[in-house]
Symmetry: C2
Subunit: 266 residues, 2 copies
């Protein structure tokens, strides 16, 4: 670990971190930026590679945040104490503890996922908004899901907004990406039953047995699920919509089914 | 209804609509801006007063959106066909059908709420992010809740981000605002049992009978519920948290309890 002080917003390391706000740069480098003590703490917990760290000088922090700073000093390949102007430049959101880390993310393939018996899996098809992917991960973490699969995602998985909406659980919940067709085949090979939310399904989600190996499948905000998920081995279920709107937010729909599975399993 | 064409972004009506992005201006005037065909359609459905309407010239729209434009021509006190530059200026988000309306919102007091027997109510305490309030309203609409009460809100209720996150259901779900203490008294007077989500509650939410008159009470993201909701008549319940994070998003927590109530009531 090398530790330096940075006061210039045009420092090459600062500029490199700022460039990671662009998806293309994240995909080229395999790196992303993580903002906030809680999120960085969760990344540290998983032993992910920390490439760089920026800690704002003179920022008032909680004891938990100071602990994250201490851990970063040891874990990060580079560590910089930076001026207020620099931390404002590299920090991603408005909510900040004055700590930003650059990490190397790992995108898993389906076969990298290791599942227990009777796994509880979430498949999010064509998710477009990183905030929704992050919210799904946060709910999946809460419900103790064993994996989240982004099928044909329209966002990059380690988008900083996904990291933030997940509260950093994105580093903890096993997360893979694949095509919808490959995901369906993979589920079938493991005898995991896809339970797909559809507006027109005759069966209520709460009338289906969710105690066995199941994958809860939710579609995109705009278009719902594609034809892949009309295969005969897929069980369509309906969430009651009793008001004016015809759908729930995709992360809310996933959470309602996940917690019904938790309830049934208890 | 007066119909005009506007091509200048400095037109006083355009400037008045843009000013409504500021909370202070919304609170002073009792007006807010609504962006998008679906959201404006829901406002029209409830017979809310439409003060002004801006429709972008030459914007390609769906049949549903064109129907909203037709209804606005009749319902809005003023109606303007505007240039692309003007609609870009008054539109609130990036997602736009090229239709923006200025509406007069009604903030209800508790005693304005009319409830059926065995009502299902949501109380959101100290909600700070308008997007979370909107998400709670969308889930409350889906679950057929009878009212949402914002107790000591830290956001204005008809913030454009709340309207958008609610998909316009904010105009349909009865929504009132009051202090936490007044809300608790009001619930007691109507024999509605507050069910409050707490991390340390001994009882699981799914082990409580939610078929009677109940209010699901969720606290702020940052601090949870205040001491108001530790009164003896409040039933604390816990949502299982099986992962690394210690809480769900507030709108997700509300949805999990709301849909458990729907399941029990079916």
């Amino acid at each position: 670990m090398t530790e330096v002080a940075i006061t210039s917003a045009t420092n090459p390391r600062v500029k490199a971190a700022v460039r990671l706000r662009a998806r293309r740069e994240r995909e080229t480098t395999g790196l992303t930026v993580v903002d906030g003590a809680r999120e960085i703490g969760r990344a540290l917990d998983t032993g992910i590679e920390i490439v760089d760290a920026f800690v704002g000088d003179g920022v008032a922090r909680s004891a938990d945040a100071e602990d994250v700073v201490r851990r970063l000093r040891t874990a990060s390949r580079s560590f910089a104490v930076v001026s207020e102007a620099v931390i404002a430049k590299v920090a991603f959101g408005d909510r900040t503890d004055g700590i930003v880390a650059v990490v190397r993310f790992a995108t898993r393939a389906l076969d990298d996922l290791v599942l227990p018996p009777d796994p509880l899996v979430v498949v999010a098809e064509s998710v477009e908004k990183p905030g929704n992917l992050g919210a799904i991960l946060r709910s999946a973490d809460g419900a103790g899901a064993d994996a989240v699969i982004a099928a044909d995602p329209l966002t990059d998985l380690f988008n900083p907004n996904a990291i933030r909406a997940s509260l950093g659980t994105i580093f903890r919940v096993p997360l893979a990406s694949a095509s919808g067709a490959a995901t369906l085949d993979w589920l079938e090979a493991r005898a995991i039953v896809p339970i797909a939310t559809r507006l027109d399904a005759p069966t209520l989600y709460s009338d289906v047995d969710l105690r066995g190996p199941v994958a809860i499948v939710v579609g995109s905000e705009a278009d719902g699920l594609t034809g892949v998920w009309t295969a005969p081995r897929v069980i369509p279920v309906r969430i009651p919509m009793l008001g004016a709107a015809d759908s729930l937010n995709v992360s809310v729909a996933a959470a309602v089914l996940l917690y019904e599975a938790v309830r049934q399993r208890e």
